[in-house]
């Protein structure tokens, strides 16, 4: 019994982490119709920035609790710097091109950022273990878990709720939904579509940065961490239905729990099962679980 509980808990922790990545990705896709491969680099940037500034904070002898604030600052930094830079500097010039071409543009941005990260931070791993060990452990049955995992779940729930509230309950969110529904009519009605794009991309980048910043204490931040994450979050987003926030949450839960089951009962198949879930879902529902029907264009 405690076994199953442990597997479920692991799954939910992993899902929370996946959701942080997937939420940004699906938001950007929903509004801008861009499947952003550079999301993986933004995640890596978040990790590196967090390791650097939280590391500096701790090295300066400030209170260790403040390192959590530094993780959030890292996420904000990545979002506010890289979001506008990528959107205004690159993507803005590509609007109107085919979705697949836009995918390639973000792939190019991903390649550039991967090397930029290596040039800035070097190829050595960066470690930031303090925030992970600081809150201590708690027990499930006989197993000890770091409290940090609970924190991750809490952050994912807060982010999900905040995004849903902002989208469905505020004026700005409703304007955003209008843009998703029909970009041209929205522009004709006086919505500043360019600003909506800029804000969306910045928020999405921030979420990627947050995902990276919160992961930094759990891993060795090293070159190439973004490469694996990006295909994984693609799988989550595609399972849920591109552009759907609820879909990203459900997709993250499905992939997370399937993965933790695989890790526990059939470890060889860990990677395998995740993409198998994705393939199965797409076979049953070609556009993901939460997708609206679309009219064919003649």
């Amino acid at each position: 019994m405690s076994n199953i509980l442990a597997v479920l808990f692991d799954g939910v922790v992993y899902s929370s982490w996946l959701f942080l990545m997937a939420a940004g990705l699906t938001l950007i896709y929903g509004v801008m119709k861009i499947l952003n491969i550079a999301h993986g680099s933004l995640y890596a940037l978040g990790g590196y920035t967090a390791a650097t500034i939280a590391g500096a904070w701790l090295a300066a002898g400030h209170a260790a609790v403040g390192s959590f604030a530094m993780l959030v600052v890292a996420a904000l930094l990545v979002g506010l710097v890289m979001g506008p830079l990528l959107e205004r500097g690159l993507l803005k010039w590509m609007y109107g091109k085919n979705e697949v071409v836009l995918l390639l543009v973000t792939y190019a941005a991903f390649l550039i950022l991967e090397d930029a990260i290596k040039l800035i931070w070097g190829v050595e791993s960066k470690l930031l273990p303090e925030p992970y060990s600081l809150p201590g452990n708690f027990q499930i049955g006989t197993l000890a878990y770091p409290v940090y995992n609970l924190l991750l779940i809490a952050v994912a729930v807060i982010v999900g709720t905040a995004l849903a509230w902002a989208l469905y309950r505020t004026r700005q969110g409703k304007l955003l939904l209008a843009v998703i529904h029909d970009r041209e009519v929205s522009a004709a009605m006086g919505i500043n579509v360019n600003r909506v794009y800029l804000v969306t991309f910045t928020v999405g980048s921030m979420l990627a940065g947050l995902g990276g910043a919160l992961t930094a204490p759990m891993i060795a931040v090293s070159p190439g961490i973004g490469v694996e994450v990006i295909v994984l979050s693609f799988a989550v987003v595609v399972v849920g239905g591109l552009g759907s926030l609820g879909g990203a949450a459900l997709g993250a839960l499905m992939v997370g729990i399937v993965r933790s089951l695989a890790v526990r009962y059939w470890p060889e198949a860990e990677l395998f099962t995740i993409y198998l879930v994705m393939a199965m879902v797409l076979i049953a529902r070609p556009k993901g679980l939460f997708s609206a029907p679309e009219a064919r264009r003649i």
Binding site: Y107, L111, V238, L242, L271, Y275, P286, I298
Partner: protein, 310 residues
């Protein structure tokens, strides 16, 4: 304008064959790899002409490489000709099954689903310790079509064989693209609903093109495995598939020669970059890709065309 593709193919083929006994070892290696990758990209170009971009050709590239390598390693049949056939057949068989499903998908969903299938293979290969996990394993071909090979010459022979096969395939594909079905492919890219209304089966054309692209990628994988003498799961990883897409975009889909020119350029650049600037190689790729998308949407091939075009 007259089409000079066939004479160009014949000249390129003769020149590359002449290089087989003469060129230094490193050049033979580079060209062999470029031809193998060009083969994969040739299949990708066929798909792109149908309006589909596959982000998972690494699946068939990896399958071809592993099928060829396993035949020698486990099956004890170290004949290069049989290994190449095995690679192509294995990839074609898998493509024939997956194609039934994938031919229903378009655009980004096609790209993502093919990516998922390639990652399934990657995940399986990485975790299978019998196949060397992440390290892969080495392979040695001992003969070609029943003839035993002297040590030191086999790479050159494989290269010569790949030149002949590659250009035969390129010529066939060139004929295919000019045929009824080839032209139907372009029509599907433009508007598939209208193609349906005109009475042609979009599904069937997409399916056939998909299987052909898979078989080409498998053949390319087998040739690459023979050229390198080693296989590892990286062949099926999504960055490998991304590399193929990059080469296809670089060359453009205008002509069957374009993939080979851009694959040779790509491999040459990579060799130079590894030597002098290994840290900015990906950045260079990214910038080149952006430049192509912005200024030469038809790929480098349009530069060659532009002069003679009316």
């Amino acid at each position: 304008m007259r089409d000079r593709t066939v004479p160009a193919l014949a000249i390129a083929c003769a020149a590359l064959l002449a290089a087989a006994p003469l060129a230094p070892q490193w050049l033979v290696f580079l060209l062999a790899l470029a031809l193998a990758k060009g083969m994969v990209v040739l299949g990708l170009v066929l798909l792109m002409r149908t309006g589909l971009v596959s982000f998972g050709q690494g699946l068939y590239f990896g399958l071809g490489a592993y099928a060829a390598a396993l035949l020698a390693h486990r099956g004890g049949i170290a004949d290069a000709a049989l290994m190449i056939v095995a690679g192509a057949a294995c990839a074609a068989a898998v493509a024939a099954v997956l194609g039934l499903l994938l031919a229903r998908y378009r655009e980004i969903f096609f790209a993502m689903l093919s990516l998922a299938f390639s990652m399934i293979l990657y995940g399986a290969l990485v975790k299978s310790s019998a196949l060397g996990s992440t390290d892969g394993f080495n392979l040695h071909a001992k003969g070609f079509a029943g003839i035993a090979l002297a040590a030191g010459t086999e790479r050159r022979l494989f290269y010569a064989v790949s030149v002949v096969v590659v250009f035969a395939v390129a010529w066939l594909l060139h004929r295919y693209l000019a045929s009824h079905w080839g032209r139907l492919s372009a029509a599907i890219r433009d508007n598939e609903l209208r193609v349906e209304y005109l009475g042609a089966s979009v599904y069937r054309v997409v399916y056939v093109n998909y299987v052909a692209a898979g078989a080409l990628a498998g053949t390319g994988g087998a040739f690459a495995a023979l050229a390198v003498g080693h296989v590892d799961p990286e062949t099926a990883y999504w960055t490998t598939s991304g590399e193929f897409v990059f080469i296809a975009i670089l060359g453009g889909t205008g002509n069957v020669l374009a993939p080979f020119l851009s694959a040779a350029l790509f491999e040459g650049l990579r060799t130079v970059a590894n030597q002098y600037a290994p840290n900015v190689w990906q950045m260079t790729l990214g910038l080149a890709m952006l430049a192509i998308i912005m200024f030469l949407p038809g790929g480098l091939w349009t530069l060659l065309r532009r002069r003679g075009a009316p």
